[in-house]
């Protein structure tokens, strides 16, 4: 935990980290609380107000869709679902990736070679098409979305963790610990894990937007989140179909999706800068 604390104390000195992180936290809070402030819910249809433009006076600040549903509530729901899917999927890839990478890196030798050969093989697969196939075959199962996205994203994490572990293992301070009689478990806990924390956090921040991208891509194609549930990708899809008469249906979710992705990317980039700077000192 000490290593986490030290990482944070450095990270918070970066304005970019604070800004992007704050924006994301704010967005999530609004997305969680916003629906309670609206008189509408995400299912309710209002046939007197079909495709009405955004307006504060009639209680639809983001307008309504082709079924007269309130887009403010639906968009916030979309943000919730998108972020939830991304977080769970990233957690899946984090657990698999760190475990796989650490085992390969710590074991080394032939086991490592075989494990990494497997990762290389998977890397060469056009995963997104297999994921689409999976979604087609298994009827847009909500749970499968996590599995599918996690399965795509763990490879990077595994490679990075393995590379770091391997180089840490060769570092002189680990050899010095071995010579002092420090046990294998303790070497992992005291010498290897704390030095992995930074790089794992950085790459986790970069994995989340990728997961968001995959989810919204699937939803956009109609293969992800299904009606009446929604996500930002699904909302963009609906928006494209009505963009010539009701451009708000496209522009609002598109802007939010872009904003979230931008924030995560900038955050990851800023964290990497912080971390690299410390590594090279």
């Amino acid at each position: 935990m000490n290593a986490l604390g030290r990482f944070w104390s450095r990270a918070r000195q970066s304005r970019a980290v604070l800004f992007c992180g704050g924006l994301l936290v704010g967005l999530v809070v609004v997305a969680m609380l916003g629906p309670f402030l609206s008189p509408h819910n995400y299912l309710q249809t209002d046939f007197n107000n079909i495709l009405s433009a955004p307006s504060l006076t009639d209680g639809h600040p983001f307008g309504t869709d082709d079924l007269g549903r309130d887009l403010f509530v639906r968009t916030l729901l979309g943000v919730q679902v998108t972020i939830l899917v991304a977080l769970v999927a990233s957690a899946v890839s984090l657990v698999i990736g760190v475990f796989y990478g650490a085992v390969a890196g710590l074991t080394g030798g032939r086991v490592d070679a075989i494990m990494m050969r497997f990762v290389d093989t998977l890397y060469a697969l056009p995963f997104i098409f297999l994921v689409i196939l999976l979604m087609v075959a298994f009827e847009r199962n909500f749970f499968l979305i996590f599995v599918a996205i996690g399965a795509v994203n763990w490879l990077d994490m595994a490679r990075i963790v393995r590379g770091q572990t391997l180089s840490l293992r060769e570092r002189e301070f680990v050899q010095a610990a071995q010579l002092s009689g420090v046990s294998f478990v303790r070497i992992i806990l005291r010498h290897i894990a704390p030095n992995l924390v930074g790089v794992v956090i950085v790459y986790l921040t970069l994995t989340i937007p990728q997961a968001i991208l995959v989810e919204s891509f699937l939803s956009f194609l109609g293969l992800g989140i299904q009606e009446p549930q929604t996500s930002l990708g699904a909302l963009v899809d609906a928006g494209v179909n009505h963009m010539e008469g009701a451009s708000w249906m496209l522009l609002i979710p598109a802007a939010l999706l872009a904003l979230i992705l931008l924030c995560f990317n900038f955050l990851g980039d800023a964290l990497r800068d912080v971390f690299d700077a410390r590594q090279s000192r």
Partner: protein, 581 residues
């Protein structure tokens, strides 16, 4: 008018001053040494002359080349000066040559950019220059990539590239620091030979190099010029305290008391060790072969050799960090297991290692007290540790304020003291130092060596000291093991080795070390060529292709090790070749 005049040069990075009020001049054709420890601003000065400092530097003053100020000149003006009037040789020839470019291509570009030749003449001139710097097969080497050349060959190419434009001034920034000592002598000789009337500004931390090669010298301390004069007079009568410290700290190969042999039981013995690594596509790389050596309680045995001699592999095998393929490690009369993991904790703590890179050998996430106390946690859990940590830090010369520091907050010397404290806290019987002072400046190096001597005197610690620096060896060791391509060349008491070396390789090695005294002889390139590849060592005596005394038998039969007058030596001609050094 001087060729180069530096007038009140100041270089700052923010608040940090790199060079302060520096003024000096270099005359046509002379050779000037610029000496200082790391951070003294000597490289900054060199880069400033060529306008190569990073944009973050704030520079003021004047740099006049034949009267014309080029400080702050446009890139266009500087490009006309570079290579044509002032050329530079950098430290690390591997990093300084483009690995993606054939050396011929890179060299030809210099001639065509500066309009010095055109058409077929370009290639002809490059090949001629490559010949001049000693590339035997210049036509073929023209198409070679840097990674296909040895370190010494690369530095020859670097010198060729610097001389192509026939400059008036050659700036050489630590040109031999990355090279082995026998190659260093060759390169320094080459520089002297080929520069004709080109003035030389030689930047180095090594007083020995300046003493042998420069007419005048300048001494820098933290960005300031503290002494300047003829090399002979600076060495005979150094005026500034810093110069005096530098000269006193420079270990000398040719004088100083040597330690008398220690009579005691062997504490660690290595018998017939063999270490090899699987090399992709090359089969086995035999790093150490049939090597036996022992160290006694209270004794320091130095292990000396150029890069690739297998000295690090030997001690890592003794520690169990790499497995022995054959042979045995015996500690206090009992054979040790092959790997460190399978050795008992008590035995492990008796053999400790200090690394070359002081900061890299400390966990960046741990504070000094935790680093030093870690071995105690393993061996004596529950005991009060703070006192012991305090005591050992005190012993290595660090006060309480260091306890809560992280490694990146330490200087190189301080970090090395922490590493030594960690190694010593379990009171080991044997300490192995792998180039432990190579990364440190002269004065800090001297302090660390004294620390080790003190600990040894107090505790009877046995020390195996790996180094490439023979002058350090003379100052600290009782006995010396010389290795070449993984094999024992000579093993002798210091006194015997430094006064009457038996093996031709040892003799050449001793002659190649520059002596920090302009009146003493040293720094001769009595060896041609470089150590051959360890992957395919020559048959017979591995040294025969470079040996001036080689006979027929040396090319066919590997000499066995034998003992002549208490000296273990592997040479067919050891009896005949004995000559006083």
């Amino acid at each position: 008018m001087s060729l180069l005049e530096i007038d009140r040069l100041n270089i700052r990075y923010g608040e940090q001053v790199a060079v302060a009020d520096l003024s000096f001049a270099v005359e046509t054709g002379e050779s000037v040494g610029l000496v200082g420890e790391s951070g003294s601003g000597k490289s900054q000065t060199a880069l400033a002359i060529l306008g190569l400092l990073p944009r973050s530097a704030t520079i003021s003053g004047a740099i006049r080349l034949a009267g014309r100020d080029i400080l702050g000149a446009s890139e266009k003006v500087l490009d006309e000066v570079r290579a044509r009037r002032v050329a530079m040789v950098f430290q690390d020839p591997m990093q300084a040559l483009n690995p993606y470019l054939q050396i011929g291509q890179a060299l030809c570009q210099i001639l065509s950019t500066h309009g010095l030749a055109s058409g077929a003449a370009v290639r002809a001139r490059v090949i001629e220059m490559l010949r001049r710097v000693g590339l035997a097969d210049a036509e073929r080497q023209f198409r070679a990539y840097p990674h296909q050349l040895s370190g010494g060959m690369r530095q020859r190419v670097m010198i060729a590239s610097a001389l192509l434009g026939e400059p008036e001034l050659l700036v050489a920034d630590e040109p031999t620091t990355a090279l082995d000592v026998t190659v260093q002598a060759q390169i320094l000789e080459l520089l002297e030979e080929v520069r004709d009337n080109t003035a030389l500004l030689l930047i180095t931390h090594d007083l020995g190099i300046v003493a042998g090669r420069c007419e005048r010298m300048l001494v820098l301390e933290r960005g300031r010029l503290v002494e300047e004069g003829l090399t002979t007079s600076v060495f005979s009568e150094p005026k500034h305290r810093h110069t005096q410290t530098l000269i006193a700290a420079a270990p000398r190969l040719d004088r100083g008391a040597m330690l008398a042999p220690v009579e005691a039981e062997n504490i660690l013995e290595i018998h017939d060790a063999e270490v090899s690594y699987a090399e992709r596509g090359h089969g086995q790389l035999k790093a150490v072969q049939q090597l036996s050596v022992a160290v006694r309680a209270g004794e320091t045995v130095a292990i000396v050799g150029e890069s690739g001699s297998g000295k690090s592999s030997l001690v890592r095998a003794a520690l169990g960090l790499v497995p022995l393929r054959a042979g045995q490690v015996v500690f206090c009369g009992a054979a040790l297991a092959n790997t460190v993991q399978s050795r008992a904790a008590a035995v492990r703590s008796d053999l400790q290692l200090v690394f070359q890179d002081p900061v890299g050998s400390l966990n960046p996430q741990m504070q000094v007290h935790a680093i030093v106390a870690e071995p105690l946690r393993v061996h004596a859990p529950g005991l009060s540790r703070a006192e012991q940590v305090d005591a050992i830090l005190d012993k290595v010369g660090l006060d309480d304020s260091f306890l809560t520091r992280y490694p990146h907050e330490l200087s190189g010397g301080q970090a090395q003291r922490v590493a030594i404290a960690r190694a010593l806290i379990m009171q080991p019987r044997v300490l192995i130092c792998d180039e432990a002072v190579a990364a440190l400046d002269g004065s800090v190096r001297k302090q660390i060596l004294e620390l080790l001597r003190d600990v040894q005197r107090e505790t009877g610690l046995a020390i195996l000291f790996i180094t490439h620096d023979l002058a350090v060896v003379r100052a600290i060791s009782h006995r010396v093991l010389v290795m070449y391509l993984g094999r024992l060349v000579e093993l002798a008491a210091s006194e015997a080795l430094f006064t009457r070396a038996r093996h031709p390789y040892t003799q050449a090695l001793l002659r190649a070390v520059p002596v920090p005294d302009p009146t003493a002889a040293g720094g001769y390139a009595s060896l041609s060529g470089e150590p051959p590849s360890i992957i395919s060592p020559p048959g017979g005596c591995a040294f025969h292709p470079r040996c001036v005394h080689a006979k027929n038998i040396c090319t066919t039969t590997r000499p066995s090790t034998r003992v002549v007058d208490d000296v273990t030596v592997a040479c067919h001609r050891a009896d005949e070749l004995l000559q006083p050094h």
